[in-house]
C-alpha cells in the first residue's frame, strides 16, 4: 500500500497519540508501504496490512484479493484495498503461490482487520519460492516503527 499516494479527503487523520496502538509482532517483517509478512511454522508466509495502514485508510469500503492458486511476485501488487476516496495497491514481500485467501475479511465492515490487523485480519498466505526473500528489502519492527515516527514529523 502506498499511503503517501493517498487522497485523504474525508480521512481525518487522527493524532498519533490518540490512536489505540495494538501490539505489533516483532517476528514479522514490514514494508515501507505498510504491509506485514510473517513466516509460519508450516513454511507459508502470511501477509496483511498494519494497524497504522488500517487507521490511515479509515473508511474502508472494498478489498480486491486474488484467488488461491494464483502466483504472486515480490514487490508487485497482489490486490487492492479501497476507502471512499482512495485506492492502494497491496504489495507482496515474497514470490510464490497463494495457498489461502481471506476472502471474507470485509465482513462486518472489516471488523477483523480493524480489531486484529496482525491476526484475524490477515489477507493472504503464500507458499514462497524462497523464504529468505522475506528478509530482503524489508524492515524489522524497530525499523518500521522508526519510519512511522518520522512520518509523524
Amino acid at each position: 500500500m502506498r499511503l503517501k499516494h493517498e487522497l485523504r479527503a474525508d480521512v481525518h487523520i487522527r493524532n498519533t497519540n490518540e490512536r489505540l496502538t495494538m501490539a505489533r509482532p516483532d517476528n514479522a517483517r514490514y514494508l515501507e508501504s505498510h504491509e506485514w509478512g510473517r513466516l509460519e511454522d508450516d513454511g507459508t508466509v502470511t501477509i496483511g496490512i498494519t494497524d497504522f495502514a488500517v487507521d490511515q485508510l479509515n473508511d474502508l469500503t472494498f478489498v480486491d484479493l486474488p484467488e488461491a492458486g494464483d502466483k504472486v511476485t515480490k514487490g508487485e501488487a497482489f490486490g487492492e484495498i479501497e476507502s471512499v476516496k482512495a485506492v492502494s495497491d497491496l504489495i507482496s514481500m515474497v514470490s510464490g503461490e497463494i495457498t489461502a485467501v481471506h476472502s471474507d475479511v470485509d465482513d462486518d465492515d472489516f471488523s477483523a482487520l480493524k480489531s486484529d490487523a496482525f491476526g484475524k485480519g490477515w489477507l493472504i498466505k503464500v507458499k514462497p519460492d524462497n523464504a529468505d526473500e522475506l528478509n530482503e528489502g524489508t524492515k524489522s519492527l524497530a525499523e518500521y516503527e522508526k519510519q512511522l515516527e518520522e512520518e509523524a514529523h
Binding site: 499516494h5 479527503a9 481525518h12 493524532n15 469500503t61 479501497e82
Partner: protein, 499 residues
C-alpha cells in the same frame, strides 16, 4: 430506505407520479394504427411499459425548480473552483444557440446546406491555431480527457509511421498532474512514468533528463502547472524531449492564464488540447458537455481524426474524409457542435484584445487572493502564481486540528462554492490537504473581497470554535452526506422503476 417527504415538491419524480397524468400530448395519428404484435411479429416485446413517472406540467416544473435551487452555480454564487475555470457563461451563448438553424441541423444534411456551420468550425479552428501558435486543429474531442486521448493517439500513430512504436512505450507525467493524464496514457497503451517536481514546484530538469530516453514517446505537461505556477523552462523541456525524438503534449486546462499572452507553440510543444468549457465559457452543465479540441504542429496533422473541415478554392467549405494516415474516428460526427458554437460566440466577442485581457485579469485576481490570504493560510508556493493559487491546511491542521474539507464545507455556509480540495494530491502539497482557488476574470473585486473576508473569518473560527467549522455546512438542504454508504451499499435507482 428513508421515508418519502411530505411536501410533494421535495419528492423524487417517481414519488409524485400518478397514473393518467402527463405533459406532452401527440396529434391524433394521421396514418392507420397498426397492431404492434402484428407489425413486429416474431419480435420479443417488453413485458410491461417502461416504468416512467406520470406527472402534470406544473408539478414537473416545480420539481425541477426545487432541485435547481439546491445547487450552487456560477449564476448564483462565487465559485472559485480551482482548475475548473468557473467563469460567467454569457446568456447570449445560449440564446443564439437555441435557434432552429442549430437545433434542427442534422449531421447528414448535404454539405451545401451546412455551409454556415462549416464556416463557423473553420473560423474556430483558426482562432485556436492563433491562440496555440500551432498549425492545425480538430474540434472533434468531446472533452479535455477525450482531447488528451486523441492527442496521444496521434503521437502513437506518428511513431508507428516512423517504425518506432515498439520502442517508444513510455509517457512522462509530472506527479501533480491531473488524473486524466496517466489514465489517458494507460488507455492508449503507454506506460505512465511519474516525474517528481522540484522543490519549487517546477519541473525538475535533472529528473527529466534521467527519465527521458529512446523509450520515451512523449511527456504530458500542464502549463501553468496544476500547482498554479508558470513553468519558466518550457523551451528547455521541449528541447530535452525533442533531443531524444519524443513529443511534448500540453494539457491546456489552464489556458485561462496565458491565452493571448504567449503562444504555447513558441515554447516548443507539439500538441495540446483546449477545454472550451473552461477557457472559452461553454457552461459546465453540472458536469458537461464540454469540448476538447486539440491543436497540433504540422508533422502530427496527418493523424488527426476524420473528417477535417476544408476550405475550397471557390470559397466554399467541405468535409475531408480522405486522410489515409488518420487515427480514425474518436466519436460520432463532428464533435460537440453546439458547444463549439457557444465557444465561438464568446471568442468572437472577446477578439484579440479581449482574449489577452481575459488572461491578465484572471492572473491578477488569483495573485491578489494569494497576497491577501497569505497571513491566514499556508500558501503552498508563495511566489507569483498564475490564474489560480494553492493554499493548504497546514496552519489549521497543526494549530486547531481543522482540515481542508472542513474549511471547504464552511465556505458553503457563506454562500460560496468550495474551492477545489485535495487536488493536487497531498503527496504534492507536503502531506497537507490542498485548497486550490481560481477566481476567474469575470468576478468583480467586491466578490473577490467578500471571499477573502470569509476565508479570514473561517481562519478565526478555526481558532475560536473549531467544532463549528468541522461540522459545517449548517445552512444547506442536507448536512454532511454519508459518502461511505453510497460506495459500500450503493442504491443506484429508485425501486419504483424496476419490476
Amino acid at each position: 430506505m428513508t421515508k418519502i417527504p411530505e411536501n410533494p415538491a421535495e419528492r423524487l419524480m417517481f414519488e409524485i407520479s400518478k397514473p393518467g397524468r402527463r405533459c406532452v400530448t401527440f396529434p391524433a395519428l394521421d396514418v392507420p394504427e397498426v397492431d404492434v404484435d402484428v407489425a413486429l411479429k416474431g419480435v420479443k416485446l417488453r413485458s410491461e411499459p417502461a416504468r416512467l413517472p406520470e406527472i402534470g406540467e406544473l408539478d414537473l416544473v416545480r420539481h425541477f425548480k426545487n432541485l435547481a435551487d439546491k445547487n450552487y452555480s456560477v449564476d448564483k454564487n462565487f465559485y472559485p473552483l480551482g482548475s475548473c475555470t468557473m467563469k460567467y457563461n454569457p446568456k447570449i451563448n445560449v440564446t443564439l444557440l437555441a435557434q432552429p438553424g442549430y437545433t434542427k441541423a442534422h449531421p447528414y444534411l448535404p454539405e451545401a446546406d451546412v455551409q454556415g456551420h462549416l464556416e463557423l468550425m473553420y473560423n474556430l479552428e483558426h482562432y485556436l491555431c492563433e491562440v496555440s501558435g500551432l498549425d492545425e486543429v480538430t474540434l472533434q474531442p468531446a472533452a479535455g480527457a477525450h482531447g488528451e486521448l486523441t492527442g496521444v493517439m496521434c503521437i502513437k500513430a506518428y511513431f508507428e509511421d516512423k517504425g518506432e512504436a515498439d520502442q517508444r512505450t513510455e509517457i512522462l507525467i509530472p506527479s501533480a498532474a491531473h488524473g486524466t493524464n496517466p489514465a489517458t496514457a494507460a488507455m492508449a497503451g503507454f506506460k505512465a512514468v511519474t516525474l517528481k517536481e522540484a522543490a519549487n514546484g517546477n519541473i525538475d530538469i535533472e529528473e527529466l533528463k534521467k527519465k527521458v530516453g529512446p523509450q520515451t514517446a512523449g511527456m504530458m505537461i500542464t502549463n501553468p502547472s496544476t500547482l498554479g505556477i508558470l513553468e519558466p523552462k518550457m523551451r528547455e523541456i521541449a528541447e530535452i524531449l525533442h533531443g531524444v525524438g519524443a513529443q511534448l503534449y500540453m494539457d491546456g486546462a489552464n489556458m485561462n492564464a496565458i491565452s493571448g499572452i504567449v503562444q504555447p507553440g513558441d515554447y516548443g510543444i507539439d500538441v495540446m488540447h483546449f477545454n472550451l468549457h473552461k477557457t472559452f465559457s461553454v457552461p459546465h452543465g453540472g458536469g458537461g458537455p464540454g469540448a476538447g479540441p486539440i491543436a497540433v504542429r504540422k508533422h502530427l496533422a496527418p493523424y488527426l481524426p476524420t473528417p477535417r473541415v476544408k476550405k475550397n478554392d471557390d470559397g466554399s467549405f467541405s468535409f475531408d474524409y480522405n486522410r489515409p494516415k488518420t487515427v480514425g474516428k474518436v466519436r460520432s460526427f463532428f464533435g460537440n457542435f453546439g458547444a463549439l458554437v457557444m465557444a465561438y460566440i464568446y471568442m468572437t466577442q472577446l477578439g484579440r484584445e479581449g482574449v489577452r485581457r481575459m488572461s491578465q485579469n484572471a492572473v491578477l485576481g488569483a495573485n491578489y487572493i494569494r497576497v491577501m490570504l497569505r497571513d491566514y493560510y499556508h500558501v503552498h508556493h508563495d511566489r507569483t502564481n498564475a490564474h489560480e493559487v494553492v493554499f493548504t491546511d497546514l496552519k489549521q491542521d497543526k494549530e486547531n486540528g481543522v482540515h481542508t474539507l472542513d474549511i471547504a464545507k464552511r465556505l458553503i455556509d457563506y454562500g460560496i462554492h468550495p474551492m477545489t480540495v485535495y487536488f493536487p494530491l497531498p503527496q504534492n502539497t507536503g502531506g497537507q490537504g490542498a485548497m486550490m482557488v481560481e477566481p476567474t476574470e469575470t468576478e468583480s473585486k467586491e466578490s473577490i473581497d467578500y471571499f477573502i473576508d470569509c476565508m479570514k473569518k473561517i481562519a478565526q473560527e478555526c481558532k475560536d470554535n473549531p467544532e463549528l467549522v468541522k461540522t459545517a455546512p449548517h445552512t444547506t438542504p442536507v448536512s454532511k452526506v454519508d459518502e461511505k454508504t453510497a460506495s459500500t451499499n450503493p442504491q443506484l435507482y429508485c425501486a419504483m422503476c424496476l419490476g
